[in-house]
Amino acid sequence: MLASYNWLKELCPGLTLSASEVADKLTGAGIEVEGQKPYGAPDECIVVKVVAMRPHPTKSGLRLVTVDTGAAQQEIVCGAPNVPEPGGLVVLAPLGTHLPAKNMTIGKRDIGGIPSEGMLCSDSELGLSEESDGIIILDQGKRGQRVTEVVPNDVIFEIGLTPNRPDGLGHIGLARELAALVGIHWKPPFVVETEGRDTIELLGVKVTIEDGVRCPIYAAAGAINVKIGPSPAWARYRLESLGVRAISNVVDVTNLVMLETGHPMHAFDYDHVQDAHIIVRRARETDAMKTLDGVTRELSEDDLLICDGRGPVALAGVMGGADSEIGDDTTRVLFECAYFDARGVRRTARRHGLHTESSHRFERGVDWDDHAYVLARAVDLTSRLSPGTKPLAGHIVVHGEPLSRKVIRLRHAKIRGLLGVDVPMAEALATLTRLGCVVTSSSAGNATEADVEAPSHRPDLLREVDLIEEVIRVRGIDTVPAELPAVRPTRDVGGREAAFSRVREAAVSLGLSEAVTFAFTTKESLTKLHAPAPSVTLKNPLSELQAVMRTSMLAGLIDAFGNARRHGERSARLFTVGNTYEARNNSSELREAADNLPVETARFAALLAGDAPAYLKKPRPVDVWDALGIAEEMVLRVTGTRADLRRDTSFAHLHPRGSAAIYVHDTLVGRVGPLHPDVLEAFDLGTDVMVVELDVMPLARAQAVRCVPLPRFPRNTRDIALVVSDDVPAGLVLSGVKKAAGDLCEEVSLFDRFTGDSIPKDHASLAFRVVYRSKDKTLTDAEVDAVHTRVISEVNAAYGAKLRA
């Protein structure tokens, strides 16, 4: 909403605040002024009189206009078609004038051999309107006078209104608000009395409301002997300053009245209203209409129409029809001022993809009881903008479902109870009265309660809290003191946040960086990943790239890696946390969740690609063991428990040679491995990628660390190097060693793996360190040797492992 500072000053004669002060006041009360800009011609521009005119000697279409600036005469090259005869007043931008609207500064020019020092300006060149047909021709002013003294100078506020304040969509509403905030009076513009002249009855118009719920009030007034033409300058500039194009006097009247009252109106060429009958009804299957924008509309039975004897003439509250539009030859005008059900207007506007000044206001709820003023004002303005008009006195009004003013009980105790501030009842009631409320019952003085009637222009005042908000809003919500509440302790519900936090902590400590990935993705990505088919699909996605809810975290990570590669980053160590989404489909799940919401599973995923971190040497590419390390350490750091990795080739998106399932206490919590070559190719990755996927909540639930007593006796350590065929997994040998070593063995670890040299082909030397310790005594070398010898012979028997020579 654009609002004029001048207009507000006219409505609030006592206003002494500057434009910036007005902006601060309104913003402080929740009518947010988001910006203000000056409106008016540049200071340097002056009024000049045309003295003579001749065609340009070489350039057709251009003329040389001699103007009198009061101080001198000069010749200006001008291309405008409408240069007035000598004696006419026009606007000159002298040399050096800056025209912000065109972002240009007038310089010395040479046009077809003729020097020109200055420019005769149009409204648009001065920033007074969006477009213009020719240069400005003034109807008043003196030679040499500053143009700013002749055409209006204003400050235009850009106001960002919240949808609960439709009253702010008109200057009267803003003036009322401002007056209440500043503590001054406001008054509506004077309206010429139309009594005692011809009345609206002269037109013989009949109005029928067929849907009284959608149209509770329909009122109309009229004027005859209207001559359609341009509005006078003041009206045009006012509209243009507020971003509304001046069209013709009668259309301008409807716009001016709307900007003043916030109530959209419609003007019909009465001679095109068939049968002099206005019918407000819902659309029928057979109806069709062409709206003002030239579009032929298919109508729905939910659309409310204004019809005449022939058919639809307007989409009620949204847009007029092309047929009954005001034309150049219109002489009899019928003004409509109606109140339409807000929700209905909104549905129609949305259905037709229309958002008009009218629908915007009706959707938010216009004043339902201001038609008498609105219509009188429109008729009054018509006779001013179109001299010779015969205004018709009075108006007709037809009612649908009755509307009434809400009466709300306001309790003094509740004000304090809600705000924590003691506002005297007298102050509260005075504030409400200034905003247009009527106090209907109150034991004056030290009243503890009062009945307050909400005005018709404030559809947002419905309950006591709404009144209390008005009271504190006008007093200044920022005056409420700070007081700390006694917060009674509560426990977490769910635990996802804490779990995510622990997972992030662990991942970052492992050198992974967090990517924030979208919860939606494409079906194709999930297919390429062999992830579960998406079962939650968006009905209205912004694009196909975000059409389904993810069932795997990897799609987003692969995108992130793709971004990194585009920036020339070869390596990635990324993770992401978030949910995957799957619809419930089996009946027990359905029973469990009455609302049938999808299952959201908290997940972690990591992606490793490119080089592993190395220190001053040729880096090596990441491999599956890096991924295993991330998997094991993630589990350990989040849960304090060791993960159990088991080779598992059932994950179609992972490389069958390197994929493993991750278990914690025999619960499957995730999987790890290189992406399958087919997946790499499908995503065009061109490099090996390792991934780790974990379910977050089972990790969060896993048991915490248990402390064990420290050993009392020393350990006895033996190293053993075994040559084993590559067919035998090292882990198997390790567990064989452990088993053979029996109870005295505390720990076995693989500390070296060696191939080549003297080791036969397809074999490796595995060096294990075996720690022996007894709970009861210090072991002797002989005791350990005995066990160790047995270990060697057993793993030899079991795995063909030979002692390395």
């Binding site: 929740g30 409420v480 700070a482 960086s513 009905k539 919401l597």
Partner: protein, 355 residues
């Protein structure tokens, strides 16, 4: 002279010869190993001293004691000489080491494992959660996909009302929606628990907006407290405390009335800009971050609307409460000077590595 006497004299000579020669031999050893070798040649089991004393049996028994004492004296001298030379060599090595070319400390440090980086949204998220936790709020989890009833209906968004324009919403094929704010959590808490409670709800939210300043997915944190006798002054108290913990002691809080269907009164909250504060006066001088206003618009808040209480089966005459919410992206942008929102969703490693 008897043979035994001769032997004794021979041994005496040999001992004194050894005694005289060893310092030069030790001095000749330039390394610790050479010194030890030399020492072993003299004192080892098969060393020169042992060789000399082998002849002891042929000395008259009464003289043996004296020779033994002399040999021990020599041994002690050699040992002392060895120790001294050893110390000297160690000292020399130490000095040489200390005075050698300094290490090249311009080589990159060897970090055990470079740490990763939390996303700025997560940093802010965890920080805010921590602030509210320490004020007594707990976290209430809820789903990203919820019912229209929880996201709009019970919050008092009337159907077909322009208020829902503020939040253009994604719907799923099953008739649910991607929550457009974290306010669905107040509904879930109030519908399932009895007051009093104080919760926060950090989480992912979705709106159908995708341009330079909007992402279709973003994050919010909502806090709400419901109890008997909760007032707007309490809300302001919590906001002030929050501001102090986020941006430092004494950070001013400014309220401007605003509209959210589920609160009444409702307000926008501006916090004093932490980036242009004059440390002496506490005044804000204005800067680019606060667009020269000295304040940063950071959240919305209000007193929970009685309609919301009624929709959740809580008596608004008995209980009152407040809710406040803020965008994590906006908070992160302010906190870290992130110039545009899109950067937070591109996961560019050059961006992530800054946090």
């Amino acid at each position: 002279m008897s043979e035994a006497d001769d032997k004794k004299a021979e041994i005496d000579r040999a001992l004194s010869a050894l005694c005289e020669s060893f310092p030069a031999r030790f001095l000749g050893a330039e390394t610790e190993q050479a010194l030890r070798d030399e020492n072993a040649k003299i004192l080892g089991k098969k060393g020169e001293l042992s060789a000399i004393l082998k002849e002891l049996g042929r000395v008259a028994p009464e003289a043996r004691k004296a020779i033994g004492e002399a040999a021990n004296a020599v041994k002690a001298k050699v040992e002392a000489g060895f120790e001294a030379r050893l110390r000297e060599l160690a000292m020399r090595k130490r000095d040489a080491e200390l005075n050698a070319r300094p290490f090249d400390l311009t080589l990159p440090a060897r970090v055990p494992l470079p740490r990763g980086h939390r996303h700025p949204i997560s940093i802010v998220r965890e920080e805010l959660v921590q602030i509210f936790r320490s004020m007594g709020f707990a976290v209430f989890d809820g789903p990203d996909i919820d019912t229209e009833e929880n996201n709009f209906g019970k919050l008092g968004y009337p159907p077909d009302h322009p208020a829902t324009d503020m939040q253009d919403t994604f719907y799923t094929d099953k008739g649910h929606l991607l929550r457009s704010h974290t306010s669905n959590i107040q509904i879930r808490a109030m519908s399932t628990m009895k007051p009093p409670f104080a919760f926060i709800a950090p989480g992912t939210v979705f709106r159908r907006d995708d341009d330079m300043t909007h992402s279709p997915m973003f994050h919010q944190l909502e806090a709400f407290l419901v109890d008997e006798h909760v007032t707007l002054a309490h809300l302001r108290g919590v906001l002030s405390e929050f501001a102090a913990r986020l941006f430092g002691d004494g950070t001013p809080v400014r309220l401007r009335p605003s509209y959210f269907p589920f609160v009444e009164p409702g307000a926008e909250v501006d916090l004093g800009c932490p980036f242009c504060k004059d440390e002496k006066t506490g005044k804000r001088l204005g800067c680019g971050v606060c667009k020269h206003t000295g304040f940063i618009e950071i959240m919305g808040c209000g007193m929970i609307h009685p309609t919301v209480f009624e929709a959740c089966g809580i008596d608004p005459e008995k209980y009152s409460g407040f809710a406040l919410g803020l965008g994590l992206e906006r908070t992160a942008m302010v906190r870290y000077g992130i110039p545009n929102l899109r950067m937070m969703f591109e996961n560019d490693p050059r961006f992530l590595s800054q946090f």
